[in-house]
Amino acid sequence: MPGLEGRRPGPPTTPRDPGAQDRFLPMATRLHLRPDRVAPFPPTQASARVTTSHHTLADKAAEAAARATPDGVVVRVRALSDRAIAWLFIAPTIVLLLAINIFPLFWAIYLSFTNFRANRPNAEVKNVGLGNYSRVLNDPDIWASMQTTAHFVFWTILLQTVIGFALAYLIDRKFRGHAFWTTLILIPMMLSPAVVGNFWRFLYEPQIGLFAYAVSFLTGIPTSEIQMLGSVNLAPWAIIIVDTWMWTPYVMLICLAGLRSIPDYIYEAAEVDRASNWRQFWSITVPMALPFIMLAVLFRGIENFKMFDMVNLLTGGGPGSTTEVASITLKRDAFEAWATGRSSAFAIVLFVAVFGLANIYVKALNRVKQR
């Protein structure tokens, strides 16, 4: 049960590779480290004997690396404290994070206060204060795109949660071939959004698409009138259908983890108390799986708030601006209209909105978990 694994006290930490210590010791000896620094693993029978036997290529490589470490480096490393060594190891990751996450964020914040345009490298960059933010927040087109995004997020999450939980509830019952059905249900989630967007575009084609034929077969409406992507009324739903088809399995998987984390003895106790299935569902299943459902909603909410690929492939934001979600508007502002300063302000507004909402939500989630 994946949900319970984390709560169990684990076995005493032991090295998974008994040869690791054998490889580590020569290096440490070469570096003249103190024995307490040398032993990251508790002593085991295998490591109790200091051996120089080499069995694998990795052993030989470690030995060679230890030998090849220049004396200057050895002296310097020997002089480092535990904390300094820890910093040494995590520094590359921190530098990478700063370079590709933190710096761009601060750079975008800076740009959002300027009139910078990426397609005018020679133009003078002026500070415009809060001008970009004021323009973003007063732009009716941006508010329309936020409304479209909200509509999209609300319906996809609602449908995915309801269908995903229902599927998880069904799959959680042990029945013949349930592993096969689980795998089958998970397939859409494993596909690339680019592939999904493209083939659904063909499925929705009024003249050759299977979707149009299926609907026509069931309703009698001529296929030429089933214009899922070209109709102002249907296009938003066309995207919601595809996103639900693709990501419901993901929600199902998280819900399934939640359902399987509920200990059987609770149900057994409920049965002893003659609780009905309905009562068990509402009093045990739903409350205990709720943190997992909320987690799935959080993940999908964040993802769908910044949804771009599917919308871009299916409708490109059209017809007109009917399906133009915030990320499409942002992309157009940033890379088609080249309003870099203004689009940076818009990106920061979006970031703050997602970050703020996610934080409120996580607090709510923690309260539910503590109940």
């Binding site: 030998r67 090849a68 220049p70 004396d71 990426a118 397609n119 005018r120 490298p121 020679n122 087109d141 929705y204 084609e205 009024p206 003249q207 296929t223 030429s224 009138e225 214009q227 992507l229 070209g230 102002v232 871009n312 409708t315 490109g316 934001g317 059209g318 017809p319 007109g320 601006s321 009917t322 157009r332 890379f335 088609e336 209209a337 080249w338 309003a339």
Partner: protein, 440 residues
């Protein structure tokens, strides 16, 4: 100690030796363009350049939908990927003002390349910035214009001709006016031909890049739409949103509503050509570059296809396409790139360019006595190139384009608001953009 470093030094030396031949290799130029049929013709043509000079040609072709994104990013980041670029006509203003292209005046003067030798509209459209001034940033490379193709075989069927004449009172033929075009489109809409349902016309409706703007302007020019007051630049009130322009936009919407195939809400060059090739439509709006490929098509080409220039209405214009070839100022191989332009400008190379499927802009080629009969689409191309008009080529063209894409798509495809509201909104957007640019 040194012994330990010997393997490392050895490996470094091997790597250096492996990379050395690259540096010593004969010069190579990279040419950037869109991925389309003429690009393949250019690959074929450029083999002669390599044979003559020993300079290898490498090509970087990007699909039209991401062509502008990809290469404008490359230019804006001062990338060295492209030594030569065949950039869209509207890029010339921004590329000139931002220093992306090398100014070619001195080079042309030195090599004896005269702009008078090229079709005037292509010089203004592809090479000059500011427009109508002798400042050249590109050599006209690929002439292109929006025109139309039609199913000649359907038009020539006696039963169809008879029925059409009875209904509209004139002989079915390639339309000369937009009113005629709409009548033909209505006539063919949802008609059964050879057991298949066919539709009137395929027109541009694409939202993402520039599609619907290219289609709409092609029609609006004929109704009297103007970008600004000819006597007062950037004064757009009453020109962009004149009553005639409003009528033109209403016509485009009516054509979209009445006579296009189902699901044609995001159509540009490829989709329009596909609709024609699959036998779905009787007429198709598309750039002339598609014509050689369509003429060669087994199902709809040959005797089955006809070509005609943009029909007239109150005025007679057509939307200019096409591009000029420029030297990227960030290239380290400027001399070799200029050598390519010098070679490309030669009359015999231009003549071969036309034979291979490219559209030459050199007068010596297009004014040759046998040009009109050299290909079935040559007369329509010539006639179209004489009536071209282009979108803004200002440094802010991308923003101007996006504003128009949104306004007209919202009205034509999504049916939001009225034509007047759309063009009033467009005039407002464009005014704001030019104000920000300090031009108003």
């Amino acid at each position: 100690m040194l012994k330990k470093w010997i393997p490392l030094l050895g490996a470094t030396a091997v790597c250096a030796l492996m990379s050395a031949p690259q540096a010593a290799k004969a010069e190579q130029l990279t040419l950037c363009w869109a991925a389309w049929d003429p690009a393949n013709a250019l690959v074929e043509l450029s083999k002669d350049f390599t044979t003559k000079t020993g300079i290898d040609m490498k090509f970087e072709f990007v699909p039209w939908t991401s062509y502008a994104d990809r290469f404008l990013n490359e230019l804006n980041s001062r990338g060295k990927l492209c030594d030569l670029i065949i950039g869209d006509s509207q890029w010339v203003g921004g590329a000139a003002e931002n220093g992306h292209y090398v100014k070619l005046n001195d080079f042309f003067a030195k090599e004896g390349i005269k702009m008078d030798d090229f079709v005037p509209a292509t010089v203004v459209g592809y090479s000059e910035w500011p427009k109508n001034t002798p400042n050249y940033w590109a050599l006209p490379a690929m002439g292109d214009v929006v025109g139309w193709t039609y199913r000649k075989d359907w038009f020539q069927r006696p039963e169809i001709q008879k029925e059409f004449k009875a209904k509209y009172g004139w002989d079915l033929d390639a339309p000369k006016t937009y009113d005629q075009l709409k009548q033909i489109a209505e006539f063919f809409q949802k008609r059964q031909i050879d057991g298949k349902t066919v539709y009137g016309a395929s027109i541009y409706t694409e939202r993402g890049s520039e599609g619907i703007t290219m289609g709409v302007t092609n029609v609006l020019y004929d109704w009297g739409f103007m970008y600004d007051n000819p006597k007062k630049p950037y004064d757009m009130q009453g020109y962009v949103n004149s009553p005639d322009a409003v009528k033109g936009l209403e016509f485009y919407k009516s054509l979209y509503d009445c006579c296009t195939p189902p699901g044609a809400s995001n159509v540009y060059m490829v989709e329009s050509a596909d609709a024609f090739k699959s036998g779905q439509v009787a007429m198709q709006m598309n750039f002339a570059f598609t014509w050689p490929g369509l003429y060669k098509d087994e199902k709809v080409g040959g005797d089955r296809i006809g070509f005609f220039p943009n029909p007239a209405e109150k005025y007679h214009f057509a939307q200019l396409g096409g591009q000029g070839i420029s030297v990227v100022s960030y290239s380290d191989k400027r001399d070799a790139a200029l050598q390519y332009i010098k070679w490309f400008a030669q009359p015999q190379v231009q003549a071969k360019w036309w034979q291979l499927g490219g559209y030459s802009c050199l007068k010596a080629v297009v004014d040759a006595p046998d040009f009109k009969t050299s290909q079935p689409y040559a007369p329509a191309f010539l006639e179209s190139m004489a009536i071209v008009k282009d979108f803004w080529a200002e440094p802010s063209y991308a923003e101007l384009l996006q504003a128009m894409q949104k306004r007209v798509h919202d009205y034509v495809v999504a049916g939001k608001g009225t034509a007047k509201e759309a063009l009033d909104g467009l005039e407002k957007d464009w005014t704001e953009i030019f104000k920000e640019d300090g031009k108003i």
